[in-house]
């Protein structure tokens, strides 16, 4: 079986800092996603990528950059961390962009002090 790994599991940053979150999958899935999860707000899509070197903005892309240099990896950068920000960032992959099931990583928990 495959696995999707997010690093780091916990990330503490300072206000204004640029922070990078990484996601790796070995399913050979084409499509990868980054979601932000805030308490009581469900999941909101930040960026997604349907193939290597492709990037598509989601509803919450402002303040973030993403990179898909390899099919197996998808990184997310918080361009300027906001003070007191606290959220969980979830990476997911799916076989294609045609409604296939998602496989999620276990998340990166961000706290900005």
């Amino acid at each position: 079986g495959g696995i999707i790994t997010q690093t780091p599991k916990f990330l503490i940053g300072q206000e204004g800092q640029k922070l990078t979150l990484k996601c790796q999958q070995n399913f050979n899935h084409d499509t990868m996603y980054w979601y932000r999860q805030d308490s009581g707000k469900g999941l909101r899509l930040i960026y997604y990528s349907i193939t290597e070197n492709d990037l598509q903005k989601g509803d919450l892309s402002e303040g973030y950059d993403a990179s898909r240099e390899k099919k197996s990896s998808f990184s997310l950068t918080v361009t300027s961390a906001q003070k007191n920000e606290m959220a969980v960032f979830l990476c997911a992959s799916s076989m294609d962009s045609g409604g296939s099931d998602y496989t999620f990583g276990s998340g990166t928990r961000l706290l900005v002090i």
Binding site: L43, R44, A92, S94, S97, G99, S100, S106, G107
Partner: protein
Amino acid sequence: TQTVSQSDAHVTVFEGDSVELRCNYSYGGSIYLSWYIQHHGRGLQFLLKYYSGNPVVQGVNGFKAEFSKSDSSFHLRKASVHWSDSAVYFCAVSANYNQGKLIFGQGTKLSIKP
């Protein structure tokens, strides 16, 4: 525009009780409807999905969901819950024409009393 609404933020039942977690959606074409479960501190796990055919979909661990076009609903049910079913449940919608992006509801936290 696709939207998903889960009207109950929190549901509490006793172990062995039946439970229904509600999901309503709006959409503009052919869609997939799915349910995901998130245990505390973990990522989401796929439970089940509907696209076409039999409106009742069986998932893992005794969960099932029923699609209703007339009610625009896709409610999740389980006949007898176990304490390990305590988790947050997310309903989601996606569509081929929208590159398969999942749009999630706000989630329903299911708590099981012993």
